[in-house]
Amino acid sequence: MIDLKNLTIQKAHEDMKSGVYTPTQLASAYLDVIKEKNADINAYVEVYDDVLEQAKIAESKFADGTATFMTGIPMALKDNMLRNGYIASAASNILKNYKSTYDAFVVKQLKDAGAIFLGRANMDDAAMGSSTETSAYGPTKNPLNTDYVPGGSSGGSVAAVAMDGALVALGSDTGGSIRQPAAFTNLVGFKPTYGAVSRSGIIAMASSLDQVGPIAKNVADAEILFNAINAHDPMDGTSASKELIGTIDKSPIKKKIGIPREFLKGDGIDADVLKNFDESCEKLKNAGYELVDVSLPLIKYSLSVYYIVQPAEVSSNLGRYDGMRYGLNVEAGKLFDVYAKSRGQGFGKEVLRRIILGTYILSHGYYDAYYNTAVKVREGIKKELANVFKDVDVIVTPTTPTPPFKFGAKSKDPLSMYMSDLFCVPANIAGIPAISVPSGLSDDGMPLGFQMMAPHFREDILFTIGKDFEKLV
């Protein structure tokens, strides 16, 4: 029996290298768990039919000495990532029959490394939601307590790892969709700098905010998976070039942490979340870090900016789903009705809400009041963060304003659901990297996360401090 619960990438790599078990045996162990638990948890919407064939390829890499850290590592892909020849639906009815015609850049990178894709993980419909309750495949349950949501939108990815149905997973994060579910399932969730990971082959939600990143049981595993997908890709115009990354100031870590006190005083932030956050800061202080209060007067408007920019981009990006060339096609007599019926029936309630909201925000009379204004505030937020980063290594917050919640608790009130990403969205707005690391338990025994944000392309800072923090919890 392989101890999947305590398995890390490094341990699995050493075990497979020294022949303790083979990639086939490891992959089979995960398939057994999936078989046992997935019917209840609903982490995967499809288990791939070629897992053992992939394992054979990994075995040949170990045999010929070309194995790297990701070789033979069984993992989950979020259902918005294209894998050639397989369905990628973004857990949406409109794409339920869509078969990928090519590999996403991240899929290709990992395939070349010999990673094993176990299946595609459930998510909120078109990545819109914070609880995985909006999925066209039904909700995913939180493996730590099935009365609770796993968070979202990458709820299937985190549940796969949390139930030991994958060693690691990829998620995507437009406004917290990796970090918030990672916090809800006691995992590490990492959103890289915008441009660090190619978006080619990822079903687009909001293109100026979307970023792919790892979900793992510890910071070291997240770092290994990130290193495997962090490369320049000419197929994504916003993928950062080596030259650009070369211009980044890589000054050494000062061991100085910024706390945006004002931001933590808003409505709707739970007392036990704040208590846990203060304890986390105290632990870092005792470990030799200096804590300073930082002033970020605009950061509290990040969620307002987000719910303008994001639906605006959603309404444009999702214009391509018209039932014409692929995806759901609802019969009607006239072309307009085919569009309207396919879209009306193919998109879920939350997706439709955002399409209509985005259409309103971008419409002639309201464009200046909403979109143009939000873009200006977004620039202001970026600049005030950049200013604070001159003095501190990281800015820290709780990952979420409340502990994990139960099914149905927020699904009827969109604004309260949106609020669960309050602390996550600033990193997407500014395009900076951010990580959520488990920080203890809430009063009702559910996990909480501690979030750290760093300057652009300073992932290294988050990995270093993240590993320090992990040891203190």
Partner: protein, 93 residues
Amino acid sequence: MQLEDIKKLAEMARVDMSDEQMSQMAHDFDGILAYVGQVQEAVKLVEENDANFTLNNVAREDVQTNRGGEYTSKIIEQFPDQNNGYLKVKQIL
């Protein structure tokens, strides 16, 4: 927001929804718009220089990036209706 406003937006966005769905949406929008409307207050705190947009668009060379016909059959396979490799659509009017 009124039901009529949502109806107009739904037509622009090419989505067919029931009146009930649209009424619920109109109701939800009031709270959401009040919340996101806070940007109008926030923008007063943004200094003139800081509001300048610092990003620029990236364009690639306008050249063919894949072999002709490389993806054609895979793409046609997904057409809901086709004739000799042409996508068939319904009449416009």
